[in-house]
Symmetry: C2
Subunit: 112 residues, 2 copies
Amino acid sequence: MEQLWASPAALTVREVHEQLAGTRELAYTTVMTVLDRLAKKKLTERERDGKAWRYRAAAPREELAADLMRDALDRAGDRREALVRFVGQVSDEEAALLREALSKLDDQEQTG
Amino acid sequence: MEQLWASPAALTVREVHEQLAGTRELAYTTVMTVLDRLAKKKLTERERDGKAWRYRAAAPREELAADLMRDALDRAGDRREALVRFVGQVSDEEAALLREALSKLDDQEQTG
DNA sequence: TAGCATCTACTACGACACGTCGTAGATGGC
DNA sequence: GCCATCTACGACGTGTCGTAGTAGATGCTA
C-alpha cells in the first residue's frame, strides 16, 4: 500500500481511493484504515479539511529508505565490515552515487 | 534470537541451548524450532553430526546487514536521493568508514 | 535385545503486523 | 430534518515470531 507515496500533495481518503480505483478494487474503508494506520505510525501526517482528513507523506520514500539503511547498519555489529560488504554489493553506478553523496557532504561541512 | 550469531562455529541444538541457559531460560525445543526456522529461511545451514544437526550461520551478521541495506535502497525510487539522505544521517565516523570502503573497492577493481 | 536417553519433526498458541472490509455514529449541506 | 459523506473502531484471514509440548525415530548400554 505504500505506493500511495507516489502522490506528491496532501490527499483526502476519497482522492486516494479514486486514484487507486483504476488499478485495484479497494473498499473506501480499506484505504481509510491504511491511511489511518500509517498516521499512527507517523508515516503520514494529516490535517483537517472540512469534515475530512487530508493526508500527506511525513517523509519522502527516500527518507524512509535511508532510515531503513541506518537501522540495518545499526544492527550490524562491526559497522566497518558491514559497510565494506554493502559497497561490495552495490552496482558501479550506485557506488558513484555514493561517492557523489559523500563529497556533497564534505561541501556542506565546509560551507555550513 | 539472532544473538546465536555471536557463535563462530557450527553448533548443535544442545550446545546453543546450554550456551543460552546462562542468560535466558528457554526450552530445548524452543531453540530447536528457532534454528529450524532460520534454516528454512536460509539464514543457517545445517549438517548431520550423528543423530543431531549442527547449525552454522549461513552468512555473518554483517552480510545480513548489508543485504538489508541493499533491500532498503532498492525500494527507494530515487536511489541518488536515498543515498544522499543516508550519508546525511550517518555519523562522521561512519562516513569515514564508507569512504574507506569505497576506496578499498577501487583498489580491487584496479587489481582484479 | 530391551530400555532409556537423546534428538527431530510436527503442531500449537498467543501476540502482533498487514491487508481487507463492515457497522455505527458524527457531521454538514440542502 | 434528511441524506450523503466521513470517521472511529472492530473484525477476520494470513503470516511471522517467540515459546513450548507431544510423538516418534535413533542409538547407546546393560
